[in-house]
Assembly symmetry: C2
Homo-oligomer: 202 residues x 2
């Protein structure tokens, strides 16, 4: 987008958007590193390079920053899964690439995955729906259901199948983020996929 008008800091337009993003970026990093409750507005101020007043100009408070990050991250995950759904036709391909993207995202943008997995939404944002009943997971359930209808996946409870598909990969992502796995997840992809697909395939 345009860049001619606002060259100096403090000018309106995308400079303001820049400030917003700087705040969100700093907050995400601090929230995932030290936890939401161990992060003060002062910490966000230091990390973002802005002032308290500026932060309160853009957000109503710490909680709104967390909520904004939550929706941003949810949208990111959702578009990822939708891209897989649209890009492949069989349940097998779709499931495989969901797991693959999960691993790739963990390696490429660990702070995003960290926010998704470790952020205690129930504790910080108790009014939001839990992530497991959100749209991304509904998409996964759809993939599973179509796979059962097509005879690719053994008939069973959809929730069970979803847990079978994501349980092991998510657990590995957690271990990787905790530093318990030294290899990149992508190197374990084929072994992981073997386990996952055995568990739900006909």
């Amino acid at each position: 987008m345009g860049e001619g008008i606002a060259a100096r800091a403090g000018t309106p337009g995308e400079a303001a958007e820049g400030a917003r993003q700087r705040i969100l970026e700093a907050a995400r990093q601090l929230f995932t590193q030290h936890g939401y409750f161990n992060t003060s507005i002062q910490d966000i101020r230091c990390a973002s390079g802005l002032s308290i007043g500026s932060i309160y100009h853009h957000f109503s408070g710490k909680e709104e920053i967390a909520r904004e990050l939550f929706y941003e991250t949810l949208a990111f995950v959702q578009s990822d899964i939708r891209a897989v759904y649209d890009g492949y036709a069989t349940a097998r391909d779709r499931c495989y690439h969901v797991v693959r993207r999960l691993f790739e995202t963990t390696e490429a943008a660990p702070e995003v995955m960290e926010y998704v997995l470790y952020f205690k939404h129930r504790e910080v944002l108790p009014r939001e729906k839990p992530i497991c009943s959100s749209q991304p997971f509904e998409l996964i359930k759809g993939i599973i259901a179509e796979g059962m209808a097509a005879g690719e996946i053994r008939p069973m409870d959809e929730v069970l199948a979803t847990a079978a598909l994501l349980g092991m990969p998510v657990r590995l992502v957690q271990l990787r983020l905790e530093g318990a796995l030294h290899q990149p997840l992508t190197e374990s992809l084929s072994d992981t996929w073997e386990c996952v697909w055995r568990s739900i395939a006909v």
Copy 2:
């Protein structure tokens, strides 16, 4: 554990232990229900029926209460797994009963499982080792390793196999605790076990 001497409240001996336990019980419930950082010492005071001073007499502070609960819970889980290890001989039986106990404990003592799964140890007790590298998980890895040596479990990375064993069941426990599953987990045991064992069996 005599009981004759101290009949009135406030008397030393097991009455003091009773106070300790009342504090721990109240804290566990509040921590899992509203989160550690949303629970104040005042809240624990109200729920336990004791006074601030009494709480600080038994514990050095809020963090020590959390640490105490952490070790208590860890010991509980560990003895559970050890009982399974000692009670069965094959990897198949051991793995099955680990999953079974996981489900049974979730139904019988959800507040314990909730504490294990949802308590953000890294955020509250950053100095403790993460639960994944603690003794209970070492026990599981042992079961897996013996199973591979005996030719019951496909040869693969032990960490991967552990994730394959626990990933799906743990995910289902989470869903159950969040209220997303209305059936008791024990009713899904056989289907879950089918998925799990397919994923790691030879």
